[in-house]
Symmetry: none
Subunit: 365 residues, 2 copies
DNA sequence: ATAAATTTGTGCGTATGTATC
DNA sequence: GGATACATACGCACAAATTTA
């Protein structure tokens, strides 16, 4: 004698296998089924309960019971680990603790834990990190693209995430080849308002320093050029220096030192920096040359990090939403994981603001 | 309102994680559990049913319900996951990014990744975090004890880690009941040098503010008292305020405000703070009272965090090895995991240093 | 070795809460 | 707001397997 709930279970499973019920279609309500099989509600629930566990059905309270598309769910990898991976260029430096705080605030509220790895903006380390998070059975991934300007040799890993139905979101930048949502700052506008601020203060020779192996730097540079165009200025020759992560130290400092020791008519009067870290590094050069900020030179940073206040002169900087951005990324990702709002998976672009401190002053005409 | 069967389920899961029930051992019968939890049989069965599905238990009709050995059933069994858990009170605040940076630097060099959770210095969240890391099959755990002054209700979880041969190290403080190695700062000496600095500057009425739900605070307070004793001073009455994590905000500020508005002969001339965060909070009070640091009041912080430079007046503070400490903890733990140096598993105590900035000056006698 | 007691499995009835439509 | 549908929870009865006296 086979148990009644087993009979019910097999019958419903048969409906699905025969195609009488297709994925997404609603099966009858519990009371319907009670009538059809002439059993109690308890028995129906027991059958449905097991079918839900075995991934044939899913239920929506108040809604109904539906047939699940089993092809979508990998038979082995379906168990939720309640862990999301976070792979950023850095973890504990600069603005990253703030971004991670934002991620953390939302994930802990929702009982997820974080698996952290960093890439140091190096694609080999990114590969290692991707292998790591993928073997660790995570539910989703928040990733800051590494060297986003160039072709990424790890694209296959991301495509494999898609094949395995592991959702991911990108922050700060995105690989154009990938379809996942991204949570970013409008860097082009940021570069624009930083540059326009200096132009409006009366400067015409504005030096731009941009790290161009990340899209952020490319976009900020675009904004820098746009601001010049809008105000009918052409950037002076040599007035844009682009550098890579590997060159951001002494090499950049040397180039800037060379420009600042030119004779006055060729010397920059103001500098737009890729970020606050760059600005601080340049402030060291300026100090060694016995020049003063903002008296001899106005300078604008980017990201509004804690560095703006760590230096002697407080940096005018473009605000980066850091914590807010991290939280938004976590929110979008968890929505994707739990499939609550299918349309909540869109990209978000934050708008930048300029925070004026005392590293900039009007040009002394 | 959490469903009863969920509560029962979590309680039974906790038994297993705490080691109160070991693999193969029988749990109480359904009627036993009905009595223990004071719920109906249906509810017990619902809880057990899910735990069976999730592979925590198995049942034998007529026999009973038993705890399953999850290691064997897991395909990755005893295989190293190359993941270590990190459970600190906070993740992205204050000095923790620096500690985590240190941990991270060593772990990534050795191809480990980090599973992060935070406890907010709350034992319930600590329990959740412990359950989390234990179900995630980690190779080892770095933990900052929560509320280390008090008896810890989660001791069983740590003991179960030992039973399962999962090594762990404690940082910043340690539970005296546990045998694992700890990587700490000599907080007593730190409190001593901070206080002695003020005494040597000529102050006799030195207020001490210490958070005493963590051992760090207790030890720092000990150092504060020792410094007085060594210089044949008695701490003035009321000159030590101890507070808990929950009281660190307005309540503490109110108490200090009351002391600072006393008449001059009873008013403190200098303050030793539990940490820089406390110092900053007190600086707000001082500013509102229109008093000046260090002219009217000298103040010493603790941890030498970035906050020392964020405030208007740069804080004299006791140096905390942050990054170095994190790295050392990771090193000890990985040594334990890989069993390279059986004798490398010892505790480490870092010695503090005083960093003198301009929040302290000699007493104007 | 057998019967009784215990323990899990199946099944029904009922009531109330809560989300969806 | 009301109807519908799933979620939680209590109670009872009997069956089947195991343990124990």
């Amino acid at each position: 004698m086979v148990a009644k709930y087993i009979q019910v279970k097999e019958a419903i499973k048969a409906w699905i296998l025969e195609g009488r019920i297709t994925p997404g279609e609603k099966i009858g309500s519990e009371s319907d089924l009670m009538g059809q099989f002439n059993v109690s509600r308890h028995t129906i629930r027991q059958a449905i309960g097991e079918l839900v566990h075995e991934d044939w059905l899913y239920t929506v309270q108040g809604g109904g019971t539906y047939c699940k598309d089993r092809r979508k769910s990998d038979t082995h990898g379906t168990m939720k680990t309640k862990t999301i991976g976070v792979m950023t260029t850095y973890i504990s430096d600069y603005i990253f603790p703030y971004i991670i705080r934002g991620i953390e605030s939302y994930t802990t509220e929702n009982d997820y834990s974080l698996l952290l790895t960093s890439t140091n903006n190096n694609v080999d380390l990114e590969k290692k990190g991707l292998q790591n998070v993928m073997t660790n059975n995570i539910d989703g991934l928040i990733v800051e693209p590494t060297k986003s300007t160039y072709h990424n040799p790890n694209l296959n890993y991301y495509l494999n995430l898609e094949r395995n139905k592991i959702p991911y979101v990108m922050i700060n930048a995105s690989y154009s080849e990938l379809a996942g949502p991204s949570i970013t700052l409008n860097d082009e506008k940021g570069g624009f308002i930083a540059t326009e601020h200096l132009i409006k203060l009366g400067y015409t020779k504005v030096l731009g320093l941009f790290k161009t192996d990340d899209l952020q730097g490319i976009d900020r540079m675009k904004g820098y050029i746009d601001a010049h165009r809008k105000h009918h200025l052409l950037p002076f020759p040599d007035m844009v220096i682009s550098f890579s992560t590997e060159e951001k130290g002494e090499k950049l400092q040397e180039q800037v030192r060379a420009m600042l020791t030119r004779k006055k008519e060729n010397r920059p009067e103001a500098i737009v920096c890729y970020n606050d870290e760059t600005a601080l590094s340049i402030l060291h050069v300026i100090r060694k040359l016995n020049m003063k900020v903002p008296e001899d030179l106005s300078i604008v940073g980017f990201d509004d990090s804690h560095l703006t206040e760590a230096s002697e002169v407080q940096l005018t900087s473009v605000k980066h939403p850091k914590t807010e951005l991290g939280r938004a990324a976590a929110e979008v990702l968890i929505n994707l994981i739990e499939n609550k709002n299918p349309d909540a998976g869109g990209s978000i672009v934050f708008e930048p603001e300029l925070v004026i401190r005392n590293s900039t002053k009007p040009a002394s005409s």
